[in-house]
């Protein structure tokens, strides 16, 4: 399962933010997205996850192969840790809850309500969700926020095992995870103003 991004342009609220982004993500590979705040990392990831349409370009990726982890964890506070994961496992039709709990060191917390977790523990739960999806391509938006050093290493280990098993990962992060990963700096892809030859929306085009 590979992800092939060709000449992709993405827009936030109708305004182009990135243009002509191209890369190829092969099985076993990790790609780290870098770039200053507001460059459009989240917009790019949401487009790749299928939440918003691309302005131009193409994303070639196998059906049902992407698992997306957003900024927000989508953790339900009144459900226990195990219940949260069990729901996503059922949604994706897998049975990997126990393994995911073990991998993210959540076994001791399995029966605790998510409301009583610390921010870092909640984040670990959010990331454990990726493991129960059973999907090969992980698309992650700042996965290490509010994780302590030990948890970051734990998570890096999980990603490394995922890669070794033939999965791949696309990570927007500023932290060095210690993975063997290519780095893609998005700064050169910043959308140019139309005067400078940048892409413009169909609506503005009409005004010449």
């Amino acid at each position: 399962m590979e992800m092939w991004v060709k000449d992709l342009s993405v827009a936030r609220a109708g305004i182009p933010v990135l243009e002509a982004v191209s890369f190829r993500l092969l099985p076993g590979q990790a790609l780290v997205l870098r770039g200053p705040n507001g460059i459009g990392k989240t917009t790019l990831l949401r487009t790749l996850a299928g939440l918003q349409p691309a302005l131009a370009g193409e994303v070639v990726v196998g059906a049902e192969s992407v698992a997306y982890a957003a900024h927000a964890d989508g953790v339900k506070a009144v459900l226990t840790v195990a219940e949260n994961l069990a729901f996503w496992a059922a949604a994706y039709g897998t049975d990997a809850v126990a393994g995911a709990l073990a991998a993210m060191n959540l076994e001791a917390l399995a029966d605790r309500r998510a409301a009583n977790l610390s921010a870092g523990q909640k984040r670990r739960l959010g990331l454990a969700r990726l493991l129960v999806t059973g999907r090969p391509i992980w698309v992650m938006d700042e996965p290490t926020i509010s994780l302590d050093q030990a948890s970051v290493m734990l998570f890096a280990g999980v990603v490394a095992r995922h890669l070794a098993a033939g999965g791949s990962a696309l990570i927007a992060t500023h932290i060095d995870l210690g993975l063997e990963a290519e780095v893609l700096d998005l700064t050169p892809f910043k959308a140019r103003a139309p005067q400078a030859g940048g892409r413009i929306g169909a609506f503005d085009e009409a005004f010449g």
Binding site: P53, A70, H71, K76, V78, F87, A91, R129
Partner: protein, 218 residues
């Protein structure tokens, strides 16, 4: 899908305010109206069908913003939209969960409140029947309103403005069933029309709601 239904029911039960609030509101309407219009049994009996239907409708309206707003805020809606479940199905299941938590208790509680409002004996059966047939439409239409306004901050009032006009046919036919039933008249026509609206809404509106959510998540 069933996992989502169980999750939503669990959330409603544990978070509190799911079962309880709508029902309490319905009870309050049934108490407040006699205080407002006076205790004459004949007057109450005449307005009971309408009051009970309006009360059920408003109780339903109260809890609508919970259908998607909480999932939108904590990011679950993004994750649900990228999950293998079709979004139309997600919407339908969430509307079903809303009905089980809000609509069904209203149906079951209505006969008790009908006693308070002095509904004639012949109307009880039709009250329960019309609410059982009509409240699913209220949940599905409400889910559509909630889907339209999910991205709007403090969209509760706007949602009421959008949803209430859509509720009118259901309200008219539902209350008409009870009115006619209580008066011993034939109820087949409004009952069939009510069922028709519910069937149409349940079948078609999830598509519109899913489209609205996709637009709002973009």
């Amino acid at each position: 899908m069933i996992a989502l239904l169980i999750r939503d029911l669990r959330l409603a039960v544990r978070a509190g305010g799911g079962f309880g609030l709508g029902l309490a509101f319905f009870l309050l309407v049934a108490v407040i109206v006699p205080l407002g219009v006076g205790p004459e049994p004949a007057v109450l009996a005449r307005i009971a069908p309408g009051i009970l239907w309006v009360g059920a409708l408003l109780a339903c309206l109260l809890s609508l913003d919970r259908i998607f707003a909480l999932d939108f805020e904590d990011g679950s809606l993004d994750l649900l939209a990228t999950s293998p479940m079709p979004l139309e199905g997600v919407v339908a299941v969430k509307a079903l969960a809303h009905w089980l938590v809000t609509g069904l208790p209203l149906v079951l509680a209505a006969p008790v409140l009908a006693v308070l409002l002095n509904l004639p004996g012949a109307g009880f059966l039709w009250l329960v029947a019309s609410l059982a047939l009509g409240t699913p439409a209220l949940s599905v239409i409400g889910a559509f309103g909630a889907a339209l306004t999910v991205g709007v901050k403090r969209g509760g009032l706007l949602m009421s403005l959008l949803v209430l006009p859509l509720y009118m046919p259901t309200l008219i036919f539902g209350a008409e069933v009870v009115k006619r039933g209580a008066a011993g008249m034939a109820v087949a026509t409004p009952l069939a029309l009510l069922a028709g609206i519910t069937a149409g809404a349940v079948a078609l509106l999830p598509f519109a709601s899913a489209a609205a959510i996709r637009v709002n998540l973009r």
